[in-house]
Amino acid sequence: MNAPPNLPPAPMGRERLVVIGNGMAGCRAVEEILARDPARYAITIFGAEPRVNYNRIMLSPVLAGEKTFDDIVINTAQWYADNAITLISGDPVVSIDRAAQTVISKAGHVEPYDRLLIATGSDPFIIPVPGKDLAGVVTFRDLDDVDKMLAAAETGGSAVVIGGGLLGLEAAHGLCLRGMATTVIHLMPTLMERQLDEAAGWLLKTELERRGQTILTGADTAEILGADGKVTGVRLKDGREIAADIVVMAVGIRPATALAREAGLEVERGILVDDHMLTSDPAIMAVGECVQHRGICYGLVAPLWDMCRVLADAAVGAPGAGYAGSVTSTKLKVSGIDLFSAGDFSGGEGCEDIVMRDAARGAYKRVIVKDNKLVGAVLYGDTADGSWYFDLLKREEDISAIREALIFGQAFASGGGALADPNAAVAALSDDAEICGCNGVTKGTVLATINAGACSLDAVRSQCKASASCGSCTGLVESLLSLALGDEVKSGPKTMCKCTTFSHDDVRRQIVEKELKAIPAVMQALTWKTPDGCASCRPALNYYLLCAWPGEYVDDQKSRFVNERLHANIQKDGTYSVVPRMWGGVTTPDELRAIADAADKYQARLVKVTGGQRIDLFGIKKEDLPGIWADLNAAGMVSGHAYGKSLRTVKTCVGSEWCRFGTQDSTGLGIKTERMTWGSWMPHKFKIAVSGCPRNCAEATIKDFGVICVDSGYELHVGGNGGIHLRGTDLLSKVTTEQEALDVCAAFIQLYREQAWYLERTAPWIERVGLDSVKAQLFDDPDAVARLAARFHYSQQFMQDDPWARRAAGEDAELHQHLAEFRPFPTLNITEAAQ
């Protein structure tokens, strides 16, 4: 629309073009203009850097020692001379006088222009922490920065890179290759989160760690430490300190807009330009990272090349259709790591994920399809098809015809016809073609197994082991089943959820066998079909990992339901209820006073005795939870886990201490049992009761584990359930001492913890596996109880850590605090929550 007006020619017959910024966009724009009309302008370029124009993106290979500066020069001094360009380098422009049409440099040089081009790029963003100005704190933007890093690397020592994005990781890679002990500090939980999803970010982190870098994610820098004005380390907000001889800040960039802003041009985040790269002043153009076009500021070179072409068209008086914005893609320039990302992978309505994982090769591919078009792609480990996907994406091509084969890549998908149909492709394989790489099973063997009667995926897996390990050949086995049996294929036992072809049991077994210790590790190794699981498999995996690797696995809070995340039960009005543990239902006047004080102080709207023999305080605000917990902790009380898939309560009756019928100390045993079992995470909630005689006042026969005391000892009952489907317990065994009762209790819980499916209470679990199987596993081998109990006690070491105490001490404070408060009247005021 706004093609630049034609200005009268300059005195020398040429218009005077002044360029501010001797970088990638500025020089490319000049090249494009010269290519169109070499005689139109008398050109002067100002550059703040004291050197000719070079390829900034290759600074990474220079740092890594793979290239030298000479290798990356784009335009030598000769080029400027040949084209009669005046280069004023090492002298930045300090102001623009639009009325006089001149620019003024730091050294006092005043240069008149007819046409001005601003191409000032970006400034690295420096996080405003104490110590940011110490010597040894550098950014990664130009050759001087690289020289500083190389000088530091000469003496060895250690480097900290703040920022785990593209730039930070390339800096870290270079410093690591140069022999420095390198640590990357990244605020977010996954690396390169703008370009990679959780799965790919995890693979990348694992690989960088394997190469010797230390990667700290979810790490927030509090301060840069120094001595004698020189950096010595970094302290994180959680108190950790990391020694450093050099700190590289690579947390982001900001368009360099100061000059334009001061000259009164329209500037938001970047300098505003129209589709012909014209600013709000028709004599001034702008290009590169410093501009904002249709709301977007770019930080990669590909869009700049597009901008430079339209700019040149307009600058020589032949404006074309103009710039319509660019779709960008990312690669990481770290040798040996193949990674590609393009487009939008945020998902949303109508988006469908297609995921392929190859556990053996460490590859992960995900494409996102919407309305039959490819809208995003994330590739790790195998990026051969990156440019093909990117092309489909940019051209918004209709992919419905190749949809089935899309994820297998171009060679497969464009094979067309027979090959695009996975079944036909499998049919075309020879009998000795290998189907399952993990277990070395050929197509012939799989077919023989099917013909011998295996008519489900599960049967094939168990009989010939094909697809029983990582599962990446599941699709092939399924194709063979449907080729051989057509509609006769039987579906196997239920898979965990739609994200996987494995059942709960298979997943649990493989977590242990393959020593998988993180959710993304399970998803990669077992070739999950979705990028990051769903609301049903994430909590399950979190539990399975916690159960398999006590003390090692780090709980994933975002994979927990709100009640478990907030350690309180959410109520219909969004407030919470708080239930402190009351061991065996026994309390003291001091505890009751503390509860009463807390109820007053935090204005509990209801104080109720629960069906689980303890007290519930209702109507507590999420902001007040850490406070009320601190008060209850101070009186010796801990979380009652009334919200958890965990041990809830141990109900007791008064027993032999007081009751005229009591046969044993049921209250005492109940308290001991609760002390032993509290804090334990389980597949579902777990309730215990101990009754002092068969009158059973503690209702022990509808509990997950119930004890009925009798004269001769203790009857142990399991698998009871109140709730919608009432189920009375089964008698498990009878023992004579309290210790035996406690041992069997611990062993039974551990068996349940290790074998039940997530969200399966003991009642349905026992109905599924049978009481006999539970008994056999506990009692056939005389050592079984001791072994299971030992595993339970080992895990309890880590679980019996009151979550309320940790929160009261400030852990995860952001879950309880408002972000800020907005008070529009009378003055605009934002108070940031205490950080």
């Binding site: 963003f125 605020l187 977010m188 939980p189 996954t190 989160e193 703008r194 999803d197 959780e198 979810g218 927030d220 947390v251 982001g252 900001r254 985040r269 992978f345 945020s346 998902g347 949303g348 309505e349 988006c351 990051d532 769903c534 609301a535 975002k558 339901f561 709100v562 907030l566 959410i570 219909k572 009005d573 969004g574 999420k622 952001e814 879950l815 605090q817 408002h818 972000l819 800020a820 408060e821 907005f822 008070r823 529009p824 009247f825 605009l828 934002i830 940031e832 929550a833 950080q835």
Partner: protein, 117 residues
């Protein structure tokens, strides 16, 4: 979108998969979500069903499951998904240089939906 953008602080204050709240004096409390894929969304913190606090739900993709009765609400449109009907106002949000900005006019105009009968 033209208008005044209010800076509500650094993105790092909300970890992915979580949400945090912003009470507005004289207006509705706003929930600001950070998805696992690192997008930010802002909605009135009241479920169209029975005003459940959406900020406390599990975030998956670009939806949140309400913690009270598990309606699924689109973070992009505020619309209830599936067979449920209802919509909660969204507030335009922008990320710039690691900070979050909300559109002031929308922040003040947002009103909670009527509770479903």
């Amino acid at each position: 979108m033209i208008g005044e953008w209010i800076d509500i602080g650094p993105t790092g204050q909300i970890s992915p998969g979580n949400a945090r709240t912003l009470p507005v004096q004289g207006g509705e409390e706003i929930a600001i979500f950070h998805t696992m894929d690192h997008q930010f969304y802002a909605l009135v913190n009241k479920c169209p069903h029975k005003h459940g606090p959406l900020s406390q739900g599990i975030v998956h993709g670009t939806e949140v499951t309400c913690p009270l009765h598990s309606w699924k609400i689109s973070l992009k449109t505020g619309e209830a998904q599936g067979d449920d009907k209802g919509c909660v106002p969204t507030i335009p949000i922008r990320v710039d240089a690691g900070r979050l900005y909300l559109l002031r006019s929308a922040l003040m105009a947002a009103r909670a939906p009527q509770v479903a009968a």
